[in-house]
Amino acid sequence: MPNNLTAWDRVQIVRAQDRPTALDYIDNIFDEFIELHGDRKFSDDKATVCGLARLENTNFTVIAQQKGRNTKENIERNFGMPKPEGYRKSFRFMKQAEKFNRPIITFIDTKGAYPGLGAEERGQGEAIASSMFEMSRLKVPIIVVVIGEGSSGGALAIGVGDKILMLENAIYSILSPEGYASILWKDSGRAKEAAEVMKMTAKDLLDLKVIDKIIKEPKGGAQEDVKKMSEEIKKEIVSSYLSLKDIDEDTLVASRYEKFRNMGEYIRK
């Protein structure tokens, strides 16, 4: 992959219809996977996929944000934008993972939590807040992989982990570049410019210590070779897991706290 891609180029790459989605990777990475549904409170959010998986003799709980691979799927998946019940569903599975002492893997790929009437009525803000609140103290290892778009609190809601991995062309930001330009400059047409100043690329985020590792993509991007991309992700998941699995609970939770505790760019006057 040439290094001279701009942030905006990468925005286009991760939004392209042929960009592999979470389920494409899940199918390739795990030896077994079974999807399980519903938040047991309201409904089953289709933009959030949860299930149990096996990888090299270890069982994992998998939480993924799922975009559609075509228009029909996208409508079904709400374009990968979770509603509150998506976060409540993933929380249910994370709690279960803790109960059975299973490590958790989350895949982030969303342009944000869904801004809708029902979503607000059902507490989108509370759902996101509670998800981060609970993840911060879960007693099992959490590995986060940003595979495509990671925009706003809707992405971070499942991003409070011990190891944060990110695909080379993926983006992770406070908001979409369009939303950013619209708020800061009152002109969503300046999205391209916004993308360049927002520090949303994997390299920027590694420099800012928001992520721990960049996973290289095949030449031309992940869509060129989904199998190879999956292999790379698998390798990094395994190595992250191995580095976490023997850490005792208290140390694990304390280190996760410190990791996020230390995020902030300020100086003492």
């Binding site: 809708g116 607000e120 807040a129 981060m132 103290r137 409070v160 992770y172 927002m198 100086i267």
Partner: protein
Amino acid sequence: MVIDKIKKREEPEEDKKYSKPDIPVGKWIKCEKCKEILYKEIVRENYSVCPNCGNHFRLSSRRRIAQIIDEGTFEEFKLNIETVNPLGMDSYIKKMETIREKTGIDEAVKCGTGNINGEKVVICVMDGNFLMGSMGSVVGEKITYSIEKAIELKLPLIIFSVSGGARMQEGIISLMQMAKTSAAIAKLDEAGLLYISVLTDPTYGGVTASFASLGDIILAEPHAMIGFAGRRVIEQTIKQELPEEFQTSEFLLEHGFIDKVVERKDMKDTIHKLLLLNK
């Protein structure tokens, strides 16, 4: 950050520069809501609430603290920290300088300890006059520090929120403050300490989606606008008009997301009562 209404319903023009004596610029103010022309002094004596229609004007952090904390007991945490401007935006630093000059406050939240009718608490009060009360590195750090201080001192925590959300000018670092503050609240929770979150007009975005929604008890002022996504964004997304009461405190109460709507004049005594009942 999702607010386009924050400029409305400003509190009555007052001594914005706190170091200066309390001399009002003009004597009259118009209530945005009922359009009544009001004598400022009357409004101020009435907790900055319109005596005609009950509209709650916006409060600066300084005046909020004066209304909630016993006189002479507030001790501010002196962190003396400043953002390093992680996205390197010149306009951001300039903007902050202008706001500091205008308002006399250095950031969008004031934190410290103080007494509420004799009960000692850690209190954080956000200020909508400073970049819409948005949360960047400094706000996130001050809130987190205060939460940790509450744990250390074994004190209840009170946070008054008013915010447009995460601060755009600090990009992803602002976003991460949501995780940072939420994790700190989880720690407070583990320590078995009480957290009362008070939502005031407006509370949106990354603040709604983090510490503001995590109170053991969540109170709100009447008719405050509270939500995750802004009204305009939602209308554009769903292409339909939203009900009038959408995202008001009363709407949230109806949907089960806050414990109680409390008028400003009753806020201090209500918090005091809750502190005693949680002892």
